[in-house]
């Protein structure tokens, strides 16, 4: 009857699809995370110079964008090549909302996020049903259309065409001035907190029922429908969520850099984020964030050697060949291997 008791466990919040940690271990892990978060938020400002902080800021921003891509990839099996169009698009919206609609910075943020959400919902409603490859190309197309639209002559008064827009705001936003966001040391705790918040949110969604439903749908959409599931809504929700993350990331970026240009909408940035996601590993929240930081530091190092592109190409090849499940995945495998060996010796 043992088997019966075990199998009677109801399907609780998708937890059955992931190995659950025991209670005490969970508390320990939570405490460690809190500690890491607190140290990470403040220590770098005292330890690192402006230059390193700037790189780290940029790396985490790229990492958040990568996380948005990785989330869709690992949960829904969909690769989005349009993440940058939302990331950059939000910057334009923010600027236009302030300069053309005369909104306060806070209202401009809200307005641009609302627009992004609506956009993602409409686009998603159209394309989420297609095949994975078609989805990838459709996000590419939507993204490219946006980055071309920014260049359209008719919109030049709003977007300044190819020259890009300098974005700044007067007054304060959340008690901070424009200069505070531009200051890499003061921006660090903001982006660090955002990364943790978004990372945790993604982690929670992965473990939730939504995550379980998404993963199962990815494997066999038809059987999901024949098991009574709506397969459209959850995937649409995931798409919108991914875009909201990209949008939030874009807002942080525009606040930090004070500038948006057509390049920040382009395919190049989306590919960088995708590569970052794969470098870090798409299966976790920490992976893409770490991947973004690695990518940013690597690019800087490569730039100093005068061979950004060549070394980037090499790095993509080497990382992907050597680390099939990303850096975080590889680290996990390694830790598990050690753990197993230790247990074997002990037992």
């Amino acid at each position: 009857m043992n088997g019966q008791a075990a199998t009677r466990v109801a399907y609780r919040r998708g937890a059955a699809l992931v190995p659950s940690a025991r209670g005490s271990r969970r508390i320990l892990a939570g405490a460690a995370a809190l500690l890491l978060f607190t140290i990470g938020a403040f220590a770098p400002q005292y330890l690192a110079n402006d230059f390193l902080l700037r790189l780290a800021d940029g790396g985490l921003l790229l990492g958040i964008l990568a996380l948005s891509i990785a989330f869709l990839m690992s949960q829904a099996g969909l690769v989005s090549l349009g993440a940058a169009s939302v990331y950059g698009g939000v910057g334009y919206l923010f600027a236009i909302a302030m300069s053309q609609w005369y909104l306060s910075p806070l209202a401009a943020i809200v307005a641009s996020m609302v627009v992004v959400t609506v956009y993602a919902a409409i686009l998603g409603a159209l394309i989420i049903r297609t095949t994975p490859l078609a989805f990838m190309m459709l996000t590419l197309a939507a993204g490219e259309m946006i980055s071309h639209a920014v260049l359209l002559e008719g919109l030049r008064d709003y977007t300044s065409g190819a020259d890009g827009l300098v974005v700044s705001f007067g007054g304060t936003l959340f008690g901070l001035e424009a200069g505070d966001f531009a200051n890499s040391a003061r921006f660090w705790p903001i982006v660090w907190t955002a990364a943790w918040a978004i990372g945790s949110a993604v982690w929670a969604v992965r473990r939730s029922r939504l995550g379980a439903v998404l993963r199962a749908t990815r494997q066999n959409e038809e059987r999901m429908r024949f098991s009574g599931f709506d397969t459209y809504g959850p995937r649409l929700a995931a798409f919108v969520l991914a875009n909201v993350i990209a949008g939030a990331c874009g807002l942080l970026h525009v606040l930090n850099s004070g500038f948006v240009s057509p390049e920040s909408l382009g395919l190049g940035l989306s590919t960088n984020a995708l590569v970052s996601a794969l470098i870090g590993g798409t299966a976790t929240s920490a992976g893409p964030l770490l991947g973004g930081v690695i990518f940013a530091f690597a690019q800087d190092q490569f730039g100093a050697h005068g061979l950004t592109q060549l070394l980037t190409g090499l790095a993509i090849v080497v990382f992907i060949v050597l680390f099939p499940s990303g850096v975080v995945g590889a680290w996990r495998d390694f830790a598990q291997w050690i753990w197993r060996n230790r247990n074997r010796e002990a037992g």
Partner: protein
């Protein structure tokens, strides 16, 4: 610090990547020669090369590295009209100076001017004024325009339209081609069906080569009395265009053969150093920019940013381009500009023939009142 570091930003992705090498060559030559002559304020110059992907974000990252990690005082090198505003806005907080040699957009030394930002190359309005001056006595009464569908192309087309109208000519067709157009066949047919007397072309890079080669197969330029290029037949694309570009008129900041002892010496030294290669105008601009930096440091006799900035505003110096003056009010450099025509050179290859040299003051627009330092 015993050397003066110069941060050179170079693009190694996208269509501009190909120019990285010639830019590097110019920088190395200028610094070697200036150092051989004693450097600046008693110190040697040293380049810090940083490559980046050509986007504003990566440019700012690279600049930050050059200044904060490598200790560069000056920034220069390759950037576009989209990159420079972002860099320019960052200069204050980086506490560094920048001497532009690439971006031509007027606002950089106009309404978007910045105390730490200087420009050694010509801007769009200088090029346009040179064209206007050149066309004054030409009997072309109607023009067609083909331009890239991009901010710069739109602007140039609009300004040219205003220019010829002010000179009493009319504009017939006004066509725009998206950047990245591979096949110009349709545009060529459209223009060729009913051509005006003159054609003004603002198409850049590989699109320019495509247009030139494809029009030659259709015989389009031959149907016009005069074809004027704007950044169309530049030295980087001339070999690829070859005979297809013959007879086109083209303004450039500099061409080998430009009068002046320094210019001659520069072309000679460049050829010697780099296997007989001719310097492009971008190389000359880059060389001159470094000359201006050295002159300013000498004048200030210090490497303090504020002192050098003050010295560079209003600086006059003799450069490989000829006499140059950095206008104090907007930091745009007044320097010569050349109108050329593409002809068959002595070796049978297409080459530039200087038609007219304009001095900086002849073609420079007045200071934009919107520029507030």
């Amino acid at each position: 610090e015993d050397t003066i570091k110069i941060g050179a930003l170079l693009i190694d992705a996208g269509p501009l990547a190909g120019l990285k090498e010639s830019q590097t060559k110019a920088i190395n030559l200028a610094i070697e020669q200036i150092n051989a002559a004693g450097g600046a304020a008693g110190k040697k110059l040293e380049p810090v090369f940083i490559t980046y992907a050509g986007t504003p974000d990566t440019a700012v990252d690279g600049a930050t590295r050059a200044v904060q990690k490598d200790g560069a005082l000056f920034l220069t090198g390759m950037d576009t009209s989209a990159v420079s505003p972002a860099l320019s806005a960052k200069l204050g907080s980086l506490n560094a100076l920048m001497v532009e040699v690439f971006a031509q957009a007027d606002p950089l030394t106009g309404k978007g001017c910045n105390p730490n930002y200087f420009r050694a190359n010509v801007n769009d309005s200088m090029l346009m004024n040179a064209v206007g001056d050149f066309l004054k006595d030409k009997p072309i009464k109607s023009w067609d325009i083909i331009a890239v569908d991009y901010s710069s192309g739109r602007d140039a087309a609009q300004k040219f339209q205003a220019l010829v109208k002010s000179q009493g000519a009319t504009v017939g067709k006004l066509l725009f081609a998206p950047s990245g157009t591979a096949d110009f066949g349709a545009k060529i047919s459209e223009l060729g069906a009913n051509p005006s007397e003159g054609l003004y072309v603002t198409i850049f890079g590989s699109d320019a080569i495509n247009l030139a080669k494809q029009q030659a197969q259709f015989g389009l330029f031959a149907k016009y009395k005069m074809v004027i290029g704007n950044s169309f037949v530049i030295p980087q694309v001339l070999p690829a265009m070859g005979d297809a570009a013959l007879d086109v008129y083209q303004t450039l900041g500099f061409v080998p053969g430009e009068p002046g002892a320094q210019a001659d010496a520069f072309v000679k030294a460049y050829k010697e150093r780099y296997n007989g290669e001719q310097p492009a105008y971008t190389s000359a601009d880059q060389y001159a920019a470094i000359q201006l930096m050295a002159a300013a440091i000498n004048k200030a006799n210090s490497t303090d940013v504020a002192a050098v900035r003050a010295a560079m505003s209003g600086l006059t110096a003799d450069t490989v381009l000829g006499p140059a003056e950095v206008r104090a009010a907007d930091h745009q450099t007044a320097r010569p500009i050349v109108m050329n025509q593409i002809v068959k050179g002595p070796d049978g290859r297409a080459a530039y023939e200087i038609k007219k040299v304009f001095t900086g003051s002849e073609v420079m627009a007045p200071v934009d009142p919107a520029c507030k330092m």
